[in-house]
Amino acid sequence: MNEILNEISRRIEKIEGENRKSNVGKIVALADGVARLNGLSEAMYNEMISFKDGVFGIALNLGEDEVGCVLLGDVSGLNEGDEGKTTGKLLSVPVGKGLLGRVVDVLGRPIDGKGEIAASEYYPVEKIAPGILPRRAVNQPLQTGILEVDAMIPIGRGQRELIIGDRCTGKTSIALDTIINQARINRAGLASGDASFRPVYSIYVAIGQKNANIARTIQLLEAQNALEYVIIVAAAASENAANLYIAPYSGCAMGEWFMQNGMDALVVYDDLSKHAAAYRQVSLLLKRPSGREAYPGDVFYLHSRLLERAARLNEKSGNGSLTALPIIETQQGDVSAYIPTNVISITDGQIFLETDLFNQGVRPAISVGISVSRVGSSAQMKAFKKVAGKLKGEYAQYKELAAFAQFGSDLDARTKAVLDKGDRLVEILKQKNNSPKAAETQIAVLWALQNGFFDTVAVAKISEAESSFENFAALRGKETLAKILKEKNLSETLEAELKTLCQDWRKTFA
């Protein structure tokens, strides 16, 4: 069979070699990373156009007698009158496991100084999202390691969950904690030798961020031993708008490879506000008509076609998944602005972060009331559902009562009890940066809270009590925790074991 394939390949190569045809155009205008060329009558939409010195562009505007092209890379060597050639290829990036642990630019070229990347496969950056038939409903959890998220806003593999909030409210931290937690789970799962274990590989796409911030992210992931399961696609603020525009699609293509090959991947787009701004810049330079907030008319499609590529595939299609965590930065908490409303409507839920909560010391500063996960609950572990099912309602009730309670001091016993429990819940949900918790530990903590084991602890001491309980459970309740993870449900025997564990811990904690 190989001989037959080789023979056909030889023939193709011969014909290609004999007939080196290219369609060319000349640059008539060049400015701000955008070139307009005449000629190129055979250029295809989104086709790569090759210029001198290895510069590539993408044909984005196909006019009657002119082609508008965004340029990628260093364009300082290009001049008016230079030739641009069609390549017959769509912009593609290298994909595969060879990219794990590496930092690459938008074209998949390494920028971390660790040498070349051996990639055997290339995926087009722009690809049509999987249709209806190969998809299935989200049914497997993606543990973020953040108690508040895993308990009240659960995320499933294949889901699109938006992280939204003002600047400096901890949006990136939530995404990075999730990546770190995946690495922790991967390491434990692969070491256990469990054949059914499915690791989650992460792709972090930095769009328009400061180089210093990107460097800090890399250092953090390295320090947390998470980099080996992560690909970082960096399009820094110093790069031209075309690179920023392409970056999320490149990252998505890298994630899609895992999904198409029956694996699970997580992609973080940090952030899509800057991505929309970059696209606005490109569009205005291409002289496309502008609409609301000067964004072009297809800015919704810009994000919908990207986020629709995140999916959970069915068994027939390989059972892979691509989870997307897009990030949007709001101005003064305004979620009704153009880009936030667009992305909210595209995604399967949002984690909303509030500046006020952040300033009050509530971290992660998640506003539970307006945060939601539309599909994640069907993927949540049964044990989690048992202990956290009523949590969101209780939290909302507490918030409402707390708002009224500040106007008066005379409260009835029932209100006081709700407030006391709420205060404790708020403290329990506080979590330090870069310290994701295992699902079984989270379940044990919530079970202890729901069963009144924290009721006699002063509110100020809750954090201390929580870490004491976690340490105690890790030492003395190892088997119980392992059973929770294995059974994924809380049976009567398991609840009895948890009760004994809590009672034993309570004796040690004064």
């Binding site: 004999e18 080196r20 045809k21 369609n23 155009g25 009558s41 055979e42 290895g54 007698d65």
Partner: protein, 130 residues
């Protein structure tokens, strides 16, 4: 009607039966513009017309660049190749010697280029090694 749209209409009238630009028709178009349009409109229309005619003319001409002189039989073969590739019944051919090709041939017809020269092979190699 804006100058661009009018120039497009005029261009349509400039082709002969064999879909090539016809000198007599182009002259007639220019005379029509001169006689019928106002002084302020004439110039922009003729400029737009020129812009549209230029690429059309380049499509009717094939420039064959060679690294050295070749015999008539070989040149005829190249002509046949171009006519087949462009699917045009009639083309004007121009032959030029270009030493910088370092061996081989480069054919330009409109915005299409067929190149099989040592220079382009070396350039591809250079790009691949970058």
């Amino acid at each position: 009607m804006n100058p661009r749209a009018l120039a497009k209409l005029l261009l349509k009238e400039s082709f002969s039966q064999d879909a090539n630009l016809d000198f007599a028709r182009v002259s007639a178009v220019c005379e029509y513009v001169d006689a019928n349009l106002s002084q302020t409109k004439k110039l922009p229309v003729l400029r737009e017309y020129l812009k549209l005619v230029r690429p059309e003319l380049s499509r009717e001409e094939a420039l064959v660049e060679l690294s050295g002189d070749i015999g008539d039989a070989s040149f005829e073969q190249i002509k046949l190749f171009i006519l087949r590739e462009t699917a045009k019944p009639k083309l004007r051919f121009e032959k030029r010697v270009k030493k910088s090709l370092l061996g081989g041939v480069r054919i330009t017809c409109g915005d299409n280029i067929w190149e099989r020269s040592a220079k382009s092979s070396l350039e591809s190699l250079k790009a691949a090694l970058k």
